[in-house]
Amino acid sequence: MRWTLYADQIGDLDAIPSKHRGDLLYSLVPFSRIAKSSQVTREEVIAASQKGYTTVLIFDRSMTSNELSELFAKHSHLFTMFDRIRVADEGALYYLLKESSIDLELQLENGSHNLEAILAWQNLSRARIKRLILSIQITKDRLLSYLKVLECEVEILVAGPISIFYSPRKLLSPLFKGEKEIDAIGKSEESPHKGFLIRESQAGTSMFHIKDIFLLEYLTELVNGGLKSGRIDLYGQSNELFRSLCREDFFEVERLWARDKNCGLFLSNRTDILFKKLKNSHLRRDSVSYLGEVVSVSKEDGVLLYLTSTLKAGERVVFKTPDGKEIATSFSEFLTLDLLSVKVAMASNYYLVSKIKGVTVRTTIFRDY
């Protein structure tokens, strides 16, 4: 597998075994979310190319029209220095497709968690989009199934900080004055997680999870499945670790990794399950037999119903209480709010019925087939 690495994290480009020399990413202030430097010379980039690296400019800032116009006016000459541009914003992608001929890599790490989306992005320009960088929220099994279908090269982050937040606002400088770029470590009493890495740059503020993603043990399986490149972000790692990486001593890399690490959501992503439990399942209304709900219950008035469907006297209904009890009944009449007795209760109206034992406010009503 070819590794994707950040140029500013590697002192010695020759140290990387030639078979692993893949993308070398350049983070420059005008284009990157977290860059600290605008400095790179054409000679440096050419030298990297000659050593077998594909030189790639990271363009992952989000920008409004005015910011983008200014950037293109001042810095677009830099595009030609690189083999490719790695782009995240759809607007930047569109501009580069229309206004340049440079090869592109499309960073889809922020979403595109379904094959339909990924295929559509791939097919936007088969000639120009050379690589898709997919989200690590896509599980291993699904990624392997995608790799069978996708024609474009695919890369994922296999080791490094997990970006979980990106804002244009500078959130640290009001608290820590005097620095152009600020790194901080954060924790909250309201969360059991401690050690969020927070970085303010000229592009805004980014936050990273307390644990880095670390998937090196799955590399063989991923490569066999068709993954072309794995990105390794060595932010905060030691020279000793870098040397171990160059020796492909992954056990040592794992031992020396400076921050806590895990597999994130790569092995199992059940982030759609928990919040569905925020709602009381006994109050679910998504049924064709749903008739309405109990608005109020009082000794004086009895039970006040709000109906979303027509209900006739004598028809069987089931009341489902918030605590899961089911009570079947029927009514001989309904009283309107004006206290008129009717035999047919109409949708979108309120009706009083006599007291029903066990029924409380927010009890749902269903037709009993």
Partner: protein, 384 residues
């Protein structure tokens, strides 16, 4: 000729939909039980979608249905039957942020497609790309100013909608996954745990600070409605499908009046619980001033009192939200956004039994009063 800009209000439930219609929304955004970004909202069942959209259409109000989650494959496969139901219900459009969802909508329907703010579309090139994909409208990111939105509209030829009021993500929308990794809840599929509202302790180079450093103030664009009109922005949107009826009624009515060029007292917005107002990026880049360095305290001088269900010859029927007593003043929010008092001279149960104090959740009746109409909401002095 269409009204410019269209006022788009949130409809978190069928009852809120009716309130938003009554208070002057031109269009509503709402969600079914899945695919949106507010899993904890009541949302709409299939039957309620039919009822709600039909009710809105009877009042010449459009309904856009949110499908703006970043959906996974299993959810994409569940979309087609839901799209059929939206077509059957005559929805006026869908709001999407994921290209896979957009492609699926196009495959199974001809529903007009709006690009959600969740896609963080910030510039004209982004809008042009979404136009090539078949979008009709783009709801631009909250980082976009009114002049920039106008430029996007002009250059792309798409309709442009922008948020004018309500809570704001501090992150670029769609770029925050704090909840995913810390709470196991996908913030881009409706599970946002609002981690940005937490207090954090930060350390940098030996210094320490404790602050609500990533909590944004709320957007209030009342001073910029005229600019939006001048720039011919297609639509202005109010945030808040999870917010209560008092917020919905007050904000909708006030922006309605401003869009209609009426002079309106905007202080009722100040009386709603909020995180201090900012004009965000509507004019210039939001700075450090836009951070709300405190926790939101829901305490307010006034609470949402209830909603008027219907009127008879003699009575106003009210669904009570917060308790009030015989003799209390109900601060009724008129459909023009202005508050008028209604003294509760008599308080009766539905069957006519006199009561001293109403109970939350109950329905009561009070004598008719001038100006009160069904769907009106009111506040009462807080008893907390």
């Amino acid at each position: 000729m269409d009204k410019h800009p269209e006022l788009v209000a949130p409809a978190g439930s069928l009852s809120k939909l009716k309130i938003a219609v009554a208070y002057g929304a031109d269009a509503l955004y709402l969600a079914g039980d899945s695919f949106g970004l507010r899993a904890a909202a009541d949302n709409f069942t299939e039957q309620e979608l039919l009822l709600g959209i039909s009710f809105a259409h009877e009042h010449n109000v459009k309904c856009y249905v949110t499908l703006n989650g970043f959906l996974h494959d299993n959810e994409i496969s569940e979309l087609p039957p839901f799209l059929e139901r939206l077509v059957a219900a005559n929805a006026d459009g869908v709001i999407v942020s994921d290209l896979g969802v957009l492609k699926t909508v196009q495959k199974y329907s001809k529903l007009p497609i709006h690009i959600s703010t969740q896609a963080s579309s910030l510039n004209e090139y982004s809008a042009m790309l979404w136009k090539e994909f078949g979008a009709k409208r783009v709801v631009v990111g909250r980082e976009v100013s009114i002049p920039e939105a106008a430029l996007i509209q002009k250059k792309s030829g798409l309709e442009v909608e922008m948020f004018i009021h309500g809570a704001m993500c501090i992150s670029y929308s769609g770029h925050c996954t704090i909840s995913n990794y810390t709470q196991g809840r996908d913030s881009n599929r409706g599970g946002c745990a609002q981690s940005c509202r937490f207090e954090y302790t930060l350390e940098s180079n030996g210094e320490s600070a404790t602050d609500y450093f990533m909590s944004s103030k709320d957007l209030c664009g009342t001073s910029h409605v005229e600019s939006a009109i001048t720039h011919r922005i297609t639509a202005l949107k109010i945030e808040g499908r999870m917010k209560g009826p008092l917020y919905l009624a007050t904000s909708t009515a006030i922006y309605r009046a401003l869009l209609d060029g009426k002079k309106v007292d905007t202080t009722p917005l100040d009386e709603l619980p909020h995180r201090e107002y900012t004009d965000g990026n509507l004019v210039s880049k939001a700075s450090g001033e836009s951070i709300y360095h405190k926790r939101l305290h829901e305490e307010s001088l006034f609470d949402f009192g209830g909603v008027v269900l219907s009127l008879s010859n003699q009575f106003i029927f009210i669904q009570v939200a917060s308790p009030f007593c015989k003799g209390d003043t109900l601060k009724m929010v008129g459909f023009d956004g202005q508050i008028f008092p209604v003294i509760c001279e008599e308080l009766l149960s539905v069957v006519g039994t006199p009561i001293e104090k109403s109970k939350p959740g109950s329905v009561v009746k009070i004598p008719l009063a001038d100006g009160v109409k069904p769907q009106m909401v009111f506040s009462v002095r807080s008893r907390r």
